[in-house]
């Protein structure tokens, strides 16, 4: 056998670098020659430009102080903010009730089964009876008929029916009254008068008086914004810190204290509890450090402690991070990570078949599996470098514009690189998956891919909302998002604390929405473990899809 013939016995797996180089280069050039590539990449750049504009416009612009605990409102328009009304035990839904307004003080009552059924005096009454009036306050009236205040003008013209009340007849409505003879009335409602009342058995009446109204200076609404700042000395110690600056936990000098009422809620919507964190100290904040003792891992305040912090002090940094994490997760991993492969990977081999150019590549001494792998590498070198460059570009801009004293926030760059890396892995996994689907069914692969895309999108959102939810782990996004969560924790360790603070003190930075500590740490709480686990899952999936794709393609007849 000649020299060439001998070389035939060798495997085709030789000079792989040259073959790979040729196919990768061809793939890149093909993608470059397709309109849809530029459209997709352009849309990605446009999306980033919009997000950057949003960043410059709102994230960077500092923060208006907001009323984190919502007590600066004046719903009833009586001039007293909610915070002040609560101190005096008033409702903010009734403009007749406000600090200093006249209040009803109950004196006593005759109950339905009391022995003594007669009393007399000058009071505000509420109940049922036969009233012999010495003096009636005809001016006493309420704002609505539902209050049941008796109108003496009507009553004087309304003689009671004959017979016994509750035997022969009954009062018609709450606020009803009729007269028997001069200044003797049957009453069923509220009224102010001086006289003597007889209460029938099985009926009751209360009596009391209204206090004199007095004037209290209304507080400015602005006094209830940022009125209870976070009191933390910055020491990484497991300790009770925090102080109720505005007194709505300690409730000292409050005229009425509703703390025991089941209907008294704190600002976060829970039942009011002055020792909510159960550390035995009322109205404090419990700061807990993690196992290493170098990070605040959890913050639990008692009800209404440090609940309205100075936003500007905390928001800048948190919002900057939220922006980066949000953009990394939503724009990069979920959107770009899904749309780039959907547009660019699905047809990597299918298009060659459709164009009738596949045979040029297959009539060469290359294994078909090799061919798929190189095609994917070509696609990845386009999309991967695009994503990495784009993430670095956005990263450099935000690092220059971001808050802080440094000119350039160098610590942002690893996070952006991590975002680029996570997106790259997603691109590989989806690329491999969609390409294989396109191979399995050239006709319906695209529809299956779109369905999978919708699933991935939903699971991605759910993962952001709650990474602990098991179902969302059956998605590619889930694992890539874990990588971002982990890298954030590595590059910015104090994010954990910022996130705890934003959720504990109601700082609306979105940090606690967009970032959660990594879940898949195999019980170590170590972000590096989470990165390794996620990388393993994504890479194994990619290779698996590649193997499935090549085993299908290998046995495919190409007409």
């Amino acid at each position: 056998m000649d020299e060439k013939g001998l070389s035939l016995s060798k495997t085709v797996w030789s000079q792989l670098d040259r073959k790979a180089g040729a196919i990768i280069e061809l793939t890149i050039r093909q993608l470059r020659n397709r309109m849809s590539t530029w459209v997709v990449l352009g849309v990605g750049i446009l999306l980033m430009a919009l997000l950057l504009a949003f960043y410059v416009d709102s994230v960077r612009e500092g923060f208006e102080s907001i009323d984190n605990d919502g007590d600066s409102v004046d719903m009833d328009g009586d001039g007293y903010p909610l915070g002040q009304e609560i101190k005096y035990g008033h409702s903010d839904y009734n403009s007749d009730e406000f600090p200093g307004s006249s209040e009803y003080v109950r004196v006593s009552n005759i109950d339905y089964d009391d022995q003594i059924r007669r009393t007399s005096g000058n009071f505000t009454w509420e109940g049922i009876g036969r009233f012999d009036a010495i003096w009636k306050d005809t001016k006493y009236s309420g704002s609505s008929q539902w209050e049941g205040i008796i109108d003496w003008n009507i009553a004087s013209n309304n003689s009671c029916p004959s017979g016994d009340v509750y035997v022969d007849w009954s009062p018609e409505y709450w606020g009803y009254a009729c007269y028997y003879s001069d200044d003797e009335f049957f009453v069923y409602g509220k009224f102010k008068a001086n006289g003597t009342i007889d209460v029938p058995l099985d009926r009751s009446i209360n009596w009391g008086y209204y206090t004199q109204p007095f004037f209290i200076e209304p507080d400015l609404q602005s006094m209830y914004i940022n009125e209870d700042d976070i009191d933390w000395n910055g020491n990484l110690l497991q300790s009770s810190q925090g102080f109720d600056d505005d007194g709505d936990c300690t409730r000292e000098n409050w005229s009425i204290d509703n703390a025991e009422s089941a209907f008294y809620f704190d600002y976060s919507g829970d039942q009011f509890d002055e020792d909510k964190n159960n550390n035995g100290i009322i109205c404090d904040v419990l700061w807990e450090v993690d196992a290493n003792g170098d990070e605040i891992s959890s913050i639990s305040p008692d009800s209404n402690v440090d609940e309205d912090p100075d936003d500007e002090k905390y928001m800048g940094e948190s919002s900057h991070r939220t922006f980066i994490i949000g953009v990394g997760k939503m724009a990069f991993v979920i959107l770009l990570g899904l749309f780039l492969p959907l547009f660019l990977a699905l047809g990597l081999i299918r298009d060659e078949t459709e164009n009738g150019t596949l045979h040029y590549l297959l009539s060469k001494p290359i294994h078909r599996g090799e061919f798929i792998a190189y095609r994917l590498l070509g696609y990845l070198s386009v999309t991967g470098s695009y994503v990495i460059i784009l993430s670095l570009f956005v990263g450099i801009i935000t690092a220059l514009l971001g808050p802080g004293d440094e000119i350039f926030r160098i610590s942002d760059i690893p996070v952006w690189l991590g975002i680029g890396f996570a997106t790259f892995l997603v691109l590989a996994a989806y690329g491999s998956l969609f390409n294989t689907l396109g191979l399995i069914s050239p006709k319906y692969g695209v529809y299956v891919s779109i369905v999978i895309g919708v699933w991935e999108f939903v699971m991605g959102i759910l993962t952001i909302a709650n990474p602990n939810w098991t179902l969302s782990a059956i998605s590619i996004n889930h694992w890539a998002l874990q990588i971002i969560d982990s890298i954030v924790l590595l590059a910015w360790p104090e994010t954990l604390q910022l996130q705890q603070m934003s959720s504990a003190f109601n700082l609306e930075t979105g940090l606690d929405i967009f970032w959660k500590p990594p879940v898949h740490t195999l019980g170590t709480s170590n972000p590096i473990v989470a990165i390794m686990v996620s990388m393993f899952v994504l890479i194994v999936f990619t290779i698996m899809m590649l193997v499935v794709g090549q085993s299908i393609f290998k046995n495919r007849e190409i007409m």
């Binding site: 073959k19 040729a22 050039r29 150019t357 040029y360 060469k364 001494p365 190409i558």
Partner: protein
Amino acid sequence: MNDINQKPPSVLLENVSKWYGEVIGINDISLAIEGGVTGILGPNGAGKSTLFKLLMGRLKPSQGTVRLFGIDPWKSTSPYRRIGYVSESERMYDWMTSLDFISTLARLHGMSRDEAVERSKHVLDFVGLEDVHHKEIGKYSKGMRQRVKIAHALVHDPDLIILDEPLHGCDPIARTSIMSVVRELGSQGKTVLISSHILEEIERITEQIVILHNGKLLAIGNLHAIRDLLDQHPHRILIKCDSPRELAQLFIREDPVYGVRFPEDGQLEIQTNNLSAAHDILPSTIVKSGQKITSIENPDDNLDSLIGYLLGGINNG
């Protein structure tokens, strides 16, 4: 592995059949080809492309074995190191220049970039496209595209070249140029398989032919030998001239001619049992008549009649 003395033939098919569901593409073909140019003849749908796709590992034989240099092309792509394939498909990467196109594909043979460019230039020159290396393929004429495809198949200096209808749709100049390229390859000692449905094209390239019909192997061997066989059968020669009757008087005296007809005005049809003998006397007789001849045609000298004869019937077209 094969015995060192027993070199497997370049192309070997043993009882190969291929059917697509109910439709038969190739029916029980056995064939061994080694060296020289072989024309694969057959009308459209005879199974030429199916045969080539089987050889190129694009289809799996339903039955039988296909071997290229002793290796099953469905299982391994290693024979393609030594094979150049020109598909019937017209599609190419139109946005590439011919040099790019060929050198990119050459690199799939494991050539380095420089090597590939060097070889590509060489083969482009060989097929007569010296001046257009850097022009995009999309701007090429049909004949030029066909030649680029051939050049691409030659870039790795293969021992076996498979050309599926390379002359299809080409203008006469491109046709001539492609034919001379193919002849040149044959004379270099390479094994060339070239398919066509036009007898005359193949006749100008090679004598060694395989005729396929309805997926079956109808004939294999030397075209002239087959032709000689055919020559014993009635054959027609159509001559267009001014005065066919005068010419007919001269021809009817000649031995190989057994009859004449006048199908139309100014046309003479000579009927013969020995085509080559008839062709031998044709020039002298015409000179003798001193007539002006507009054309001489052999209406039976096409693939359809050839197949007709081979199938045993007389096909008068």
